[in-house]
């Protein structure tokens, strides 16, 4: 009997065969916290005199959610985190370096690792063939100090995707479609395992986007095998040695199998206030005016995403009513897009560029919505209040769909800008 990726990776760490449903204690390879969850993790360790890091070079403390800090309380939290890093030798990713999940993928995580992070989108790391999952501050705090955690080996849904995306359709549309199909709790406690020729051809950036949103279907992890695409990604980030091939077993036991034909997908949008409230763009008949467009985050703030948005924008003018905010996910993405001239194009189009980080995604600063305002964002969740105001409305889509709205001032089909008639 074959194994799922979750069983494979967790079993390697437990040093025995494991099956879905078992509870095991495993060593963790990488731990992360961010500035919203780090202070509590640190205080929990202080309570029991455990203020140290078992693997400091693989413990990464991020300042990304409220960065640069908009208020003194958060500046003090940042100080606490910096002090802890100093005391324990843990790595600090300070203001301006970027979103935790992007940096973890660029610089820390290897295929086959176990990563626990005090951030729900830690599952992004599954895109690199690692078992990566989000937990709370106390769990990750203990993981930092003890170098281990306990896990229930999840059952797995196999998601097989075949066929080619139409022009104007992206991995973001695929994951929104899947979440709409199975629901925001459709995969609670499960792992999603992605396969099929669409996935084989997909860029590393696209895989990270799919893995990132696993938690929006309730899943514990979103997992991918590794291949030449993974290898090239690691090489590009000067981590050739970190590559390891991890294959899928054909005869693993899956709880459920879902098949998706990528060629049938169209640009897809999540309507307020739940991610599974999705609509195909073809089915939207009303005009939905947009006040703010936001391109960025751990879901869609990578080079490829910025490029996709620019392709739509090229030669067009921004709608005068819309404000557009662009946030590169990391310092590297920022530098690369500067070099390619992307940043200049965005600025000339009329976008505001913010420092790498979470930007407006978590409602703490930068781009909070006014009462009744609507934002079309490339982020991963649209809960009421998410962008700092429960009276705001958030729609989720791909960077290309976001760019189309920046031009027309309403939800629009990006294919109209990409497909020559």
């Amino acid at each position: 009997m074959g194994k799922t990726l979750a069983e494979k990776i967790i079993g390697e760490h437990a040093k025995r065969e494991v099956k879905a449903g078992e509870i095991v204690i495993v060593p963790v390879d990488v731990c992360l916290t961010q500035d919203g969850t780090g202070p509590l993790a640190i205080r929990q360790l202080q309570k029991i005199d455990l203020e140290h890091a078992k693997n400091p070079q693989k413990t990464v403390l991020f300042l990304d959610h409220a960065a640069p800090s908009p208020r003194k309380e958060l500046s003090n939290d940042h100080m606490l985190i910096r002090e802890f890093a100093q005391k324990t030798g843990a790595c600090l990713s300070d203001v301006g370096k970027g979103v935790c999940h992007q940096i973890i993928a660029e610089s820390y995580l290897k295929p086959g690792d176990i990563l626990i992070g005090a951030d729900s989108h830690t599952c992004t790391g599954g895109g690199l063939g690692a078992f990566a999952t989000g937990m709370g501050s106390t769990d990750v705090g203990m993981g930092i100090a003890l170098g281990k955690t306990w896990l229930r080996v999840p059952e797995t849904f196999k998601i097989e995707v075949t066929g080619k995306f139409q022009k104007g359709v992206y991995p973001k549309d695929l994951i929104l479609y899947l979440i709409g199909l199975i629901g925001a709790d459709g995969a609670t406690y499960k792992a999603l395992e992605w396969c099929g020729d669409t996935i084989d051809r997909m860029s590393q950036s696209g895989r990270l986007c799919l893995a990132n949103m696993a938690v929006e279907a309730g899943a514990k992890a979103g997992l991918f095998a590794t291949d030449d695409t993974t290898r090239e990604y690691l090489e590009e980030h000067k981590r050739k040695k970190d590559f390891r091939k991890i294959d899928l077993d054909n005869d693993a036991e899956y709880e459920r199998e879902i098949k998706i034909d990528a060629s049938q997908l169209v640009p897809t949008i999540s309507f307020p206030h739940t991610v599974d409230n999705t609509k195909r763009i073809d089915d939207i008949n009303e005009s939905i005016k947009i006040d703010q467009v936001f391109v960025g985050t751990c879901t869609n703030g990578r080079l490829e995403d910025l490029k996709a948005a620019l392709k739509v924008i090229k030669g067009k003018k921004k709608h005068p009513r819309v404000r557009m905010i662009v946030v590169p996910a990391s310092k590297k993405v920022f530098l690369d897009s500067l070099e390619k001239g992307y940043i200049k194009e965005f600025i000339e189009f009329g976008a505001a560029i913010l420092a790498p980080g979470c930007g407006p995604c978590v409602g703490v600063h930068e781009g909070i919505l006014g009462d009744g305002e609507r934002c079309l964002a490339t982020m991963n969740r649209n809960f009421k209040g998410r962008m700092g105001n429960p009276e705001g409305f958030i729609y989720l889509a791909s960077p290309a769909t976001a760019a189309a709205a920046a031009i027309t001032g309403e939800i629009s089909d990006p294919r109209e800008f990409l497909i020559k008639k």
Binding site: I23, T37, D139, L146, W150, T188, Y189, R381
Partner: protein, 166 residues
């Protein structure tokens, strides 16, 4: 342990953004202050009205969203004795146990706002005294019972110096 109190009813998909909103990010290191806003975006008056021992009763997928442990922590700080729901999001469920807040899965459709409830954690039964019915809840996994019985994960590690869950 027997818990007693009144039911506060909420709907499906109560996210951590509704429990502990991002706009109050700056209060995360001041939990008693943050607790004054608990569930504010779902019911603005809840924090003032809730009494010690009361129950938060949700629908499906309670606690979906971010990993912020502050969410179950401030529910507990507000005096709530347990959260009842048809299902919970994974991270919220685990966090609740870690901070010592019982989370019980049962058919909450039968419970209405204001019902007097009594939960027996050992027996796995919830009595709705107002309606005179008994609801069963799904027992917690063994590992979680051990952590909850020690008073949460910090106390568990303090007591054993390690994970002792099998």
């Amino acid at each position: 342990m027997i818990l007693k109190g009144k039911a506060w009813k909420f709907g499906d998909d109560i996210s951590t953004d509704l429990i502990a909103p991002g706009r109050l990010f700056h209060l995360r290191s001041n939990l008693p202050e943050l607790a004054k806003h608990v569930l504010e975006d779902a019911d603005p008056s809840f924090a003032q009205k809730v009494q010690k021992g009361d129950f938060v009763v949700g629908g499906k997928n309670f606690g979906l969203g971010s990993s912020r442990e502050h969410a179950p922590t401030i529910i507990k700080l507000a005096g709530v004795s347990a959260v009842l729901a048809k299902s919970f999001a994974r991270i919220f469920y685990r966090n609740s146990i870690n901070v010592g807040l019982p989370v019980l899965i049962c058919d909450t459709d039968k419970i209405d706002l204001g019902d007097q409830l009594e939960a027996d954690l050992e027996k796995g039964k919830i009595k709705d005294l107002t309606k005179n019915i008994i609801l069963d809840f799904t027992p917690l996994p063994g590992a979680m019972i051990k952590i909850l019985n020690d008073g949460g994960l910090v106390e568990h590690i303090k007591k054993h110096g390690d994970f002792k869950i099998d």
